[in-house]
């Protein structure tokens, strides 16, 4: 299992990570080694084995849909790098 540089760039784009050339090259090597190690899972026959989605049974948890007090707008925006008029400020999305 060996990743190409193009695959590394493709994954980095999916993950929204800007990587330096040095990072791309070291991740290519390291991720290839880790995936190679993980490949041993392919040797196990898992026919008919259900995947574990949770270690706990019965996860349907319901509650009444009632409004409750939450954080104030001011509290929510306090950690934002940029805010304006009670909203998060972001750069232009569409030209």
């Amino acid at each position: 299992m060996s990743l190409t540089l193009e695959e590394v760039e493709y994954i980095a784009n999916l993950a929204r990570l800007q990587l330096s050339e040095a990072e791309k090259s070291s991740f290519r090597e390291q991720l290839s080694a880790i995936l190679e190690y993980a490949a041993r899972l392919q040797n196990l026959d898992t026919t008919g084995i259900p995947p574990t989605s949770s270690v706990l049974q019965s996860l349907s948890v319901l509650r009444r849909d009632e409004p409750r007090p939450g954080l104030t707008t001011e509290e929510v925006l306090r950690n934002a790098p940029e805010a304006e008029n009670g909203q998060f400020r972001v750069p232009l999305v569409l030209e």
Partner: protein, 491 residues
């Protein structure tokens, strides 16, 4: 006269009630010790002595009131200083997760465990250092510098709760909260010679715990002994409507017996955890501890967890996959610093590329790959199926034994820098702790000896879901007849 910082948490609770010491005196004793030793250890990311002393004075007023009128309600841990891993939200204090991407983040609310501990009267003295977003086994991945092991400052304290473990071992605090996604409470506990409890998945609320691997993350405790771990665990456990995966079962009221009756207790020894490559002194110490349980009356028998060797590859697909989704929220918009750019997409890319550390980026990449179209079934899907086989191993084993005893890590604390260039070698450190997270079972690590270099050795007990009390009881009985947990580093 021994120092106030030598009191265990449970001893301190009793001394405070009897008026032998005030919370202010106790808190000041820890502040003074931290002033002296913290520069060499770097166990903390935030220290809050003033806030802590204000809490302590409030606790003292309440204690005086209670002594005048014992009919008044008395919170269980009133006046005891503790520390909190910097991945749990404490309202008004920075919560960095050891990352530059959250270096200025101050949560406006408390994690449920913090809320419960504050209601029980604890004094919070600071937030402890950790591997960035709890990803690591050495605390070297903290963006704010590593923590040093109090037994040998050139060695790592383990991770990711390395700051909590080092602080408890050096008696900078009586106990500290940690989190365990793949061994992050138990492995640092073993490396630092303290007791570390990883509860059952779902036993403790994750609300206010910054998510890493949501199907694996558990809030745990690092303490000096089983009694202290039980005291904190019984306060923080229990159902929380704010965490849909928290179980709606009764909050445990734990009473540990000094003279526990071991007759009928079946202790399983999994052959898969005593493999070649394990440090000989670790194996000897763990086997000696198992023998001690046997002399106390336990019945020791072999068990098999045949899929153990697959736990590592399963974990390093599932945890990064969950992390890649959980960490998508750090994009420079709602919190954390922002690297400005003209286009929104470049804000995301540059902020994340610059502010995440190498290990976090590595795991996001790995997880994104494992979940990507064309590879999902082969990697993530197959890992989730093998996880089922690992869970079945535990279910089967617990039909014939009550607890399983095994080493926590293959070796004692390694040197700083030893594994930093080889991620796979670092991942192998977690080989004995990951299975409990994949199966969601509780685990308890505690010291059972030292190697020739004077470094602590840990053993872990694992039990069926929700049997933390049994693990704590067995450990407590062991600690009544041994003194490994009382040894202190010579710093």
């Amino acid at each position: 006269m021994s120092s106030l910082t030598d009191l265990t948490l449970s001893q301190a609770v009793r001394a405070l009630r009897q008026g032998q010491v005030s919370s202010r005196e106790l808190t000041l004793a820890y502040v003074e010790r931290i002033d002296r030793l913290e520069p060499a250890l770097h166990a903390f990311l935030t220290l809050t002595p003033e806030r802590a002393l204000a809490q302590a004075e409030q606790a003292d007023r309440r204690l005086i009131g209670w002594r005048n009128d014992p009919a008044l309600p008395l919170p269980a841990l009133l006046g005891v200083p503790i520390a909190v891993k910097d991945v749990l939200c404490v309202a008004g204090l920075p919560c960095t997760c050891g990352s530059r991407i959250l270096e200025n983040f101050v949560p406006p609310y408390n994690a449920t465990v913090v809320e419960r501990l504050l209601a029980a009267g604890v004094v919070i003295l600071g937030k402890t250092n950790m591997d960035e977003f709890a990803m690591g086994s050495s605390t070297e991945n903290s963006a704010f510098g590593p923590t040093h092991n109090p037994w040998d400052p050139e060695r790592v304290p383990g991770g990711s709760s390395g700051g909590s473990a080092a602080a408890v071992a050096a008696r900078l605090i009586s106990a500290a909260l940690g989190t365990d996604t793949g061994g992050s409470v138990r492995q640092p506990a073993a490396f630092c010679g303290v007791t570390g409890l990883k509860p059952t998945y779902g036993r403790v609320s994750r609300y206010g715990l910054v998510a890493y691997g949501s199907s694996l993350d558990v809030v745990g405790v690092l303490s000096r002994d089983a009694e202290d771990a039980a005291a904190i665990f019984s306060v923080m456990a229990g159902h929380d409507p704010l965490d849909a995966t928290s179980r709606d079962i009764q909050r445990p009221e734990i009473y540990l017996e000094d003279q526990f009756d071991f007759s009928g207790l079946r202790v399983g020894i999994p052959q898969e955890y005593f493999i070649s490559g394990i440090q000989a002194e670790v194996e000897t110490a763990v086997r000696d501890a198992i023998h001690t349980l046997e002399t106390l009356g336990a019945q020791v028998k072999p068990v098999s967890l045949p899929h153990t060797e697959y736990a590592l590859p399963v974990y390093y697909l599932i945890a990064p996959a969950e992390a890649s989704a959980n960490l998508a929220r750090y994009d420079g918009i709602r919190y954390g610093p922002r690297i400005s750019a003209k286009a929104l997409l470049d804000v995301f890319r540059h902020t994340r590329g610059e502010k995440f550390g190498a290990e976090v980026k590595r795991r996001i990449m790995l997880g994104t790959y494992a979940l990507s179209a064309g590879y999902y079934e082969a990697y993530y899907g197959q890992a989730q199926k093998v996880r089922t086989l690992i869970n079945q191993d535990f279910e089967l084993a617990f039909e014939s034994v009550d607890v399983i005893a095994a080493p926590v890590a293959p070796s004692t604390a390694f040197r700083m820098g030893e594994h930093t260039d080889d991620p796979l070698a670092m991942y192998l450190e977690d080989v004995f702790t990951l299975p409990a997270n994949l199966a969601g079972v509780p685990g308890l690590a505690f010291p059972v000896g030292f190697d020739r270099q004077g470094l602590p050795i840990g053993m872990q007990l694992m039990g069926p879901h929700f049997r933390e009390e049994l693990l704590l009881q067995v450990c407590h009985a062991y600690q009544k007849v041994t003194d490994w947990h009382e040894r202190q580093p010579g710093i």
